[in-house]
Symmetry: C2
Subunit: 178 residues, 2 copies
């Protein structure tokens, strides 16, 4: 169902700044998922991604403990689900079940991929020394997946308080920039 | 011409992941400007923004030396200019002149604001200890400006190689998320 996304193309999906979902799985617990918008590329290859996860989030503890996660990029059609996921906690909610998400097994991490997402990035925590000061994790993407059925999907960008801009018109300008 | 943007609203412009312009001014040199897409919010208040600036960029040296910059968010109508700025270097080009940008004096930093941009953020380098390892600067936004004539402007998101998604439809969903 999902196909491999070459690692050198990962930045093309993170650099535009879409809202993403972060999945984790700690010990025998059910997998969990949170909504995240504070992330950026740090390097092309291997793809390094920095993210800030609020220390109060249930996912924070799992990410710190397991040092693994999946970053999944939802299509705009999932905006309501994305908001719902951001408005409840994995402490008392099985979010995969509540939001009808399809967990798929990953290759390198225990946390699941999300079948409904455009792209899934299997990530390992490469550097945790910024966690105490900034709640910041440096992740290395070790495997990436694309959903061929969502090739033309638009992503969403959070402007605060549940307001999202959906990708609109595409502009292509000749450029030397990667 | 520009009006104050309350600092607690800064994240609403960075969190969506727009392409930004970074201005610097080192010593007696002319001000310089680069195109940047690797940045994220780190904290709401004071607004902390992390960014990764390639060590080969002319702006990298100025930012490291002066510990000051302006992050300016261009409207989609500037896409060609944004690409042009990213395709030349301040080493041999006066980019403000070449691209007809209007430099405006900032209040707290020597680097200029850009009159044509939607939002301008005056920033001080708050933490440079990640520069050697990741080319990453942690910036604190100390003053923010909005261009009231560009209230409805759309921003652009870089997908690689000069391909940009322009903000399209706006979705608003009731949410507890800030």
């Amino acid at each position: 169902m999902l196909t491999t996304l070459p690692l050198e193309r990962v930045y093309q999906f993170i650099e535009p700044g879409p809202v993403v979902l972060l999945t984790t799985q700690a010990g025998g617990a059910k997998p969990n998922v949170m909504t995240m918008s504070w992330h950026m590329m740090v390097d092309f290859e291997p793809p390094l991604v920095a993210c800030v996860v609020g220390a109060g989030n249930h996912s924070f503890a799992a990410l710190r403990k397991t040092r693994q996660c999946v970053i999944a990029i939802p299509p705009s059609t999932m905006a309501k689900t994305v908001t719902g996921i951001g408005n409840c906690t994995g402490r008392d909610t099985d979010k995969f079940a509540s939001f009808n998400l399809t967990p798929l097994p990953a290759g390198h991490v225990v946390a699941p991929l999300i079948g409904e997402c455009v792209v899934n990035l299997e990530c390992l925590v490469r550097d945790a020394h910024l966690v105490n000061r900034y709640n910041m994790f440096i992740l290395e993407c070790v495997q990436a997946w694309q959903n061929p059925e969502l090739d033309d999907a638009r992503t969403i960008h959070h402007q605060g308080y549940g307001r999202f801009a959906v990708d609109g018109k595409i502009i292509e300008i000749k450029s030397k920039m990667r």
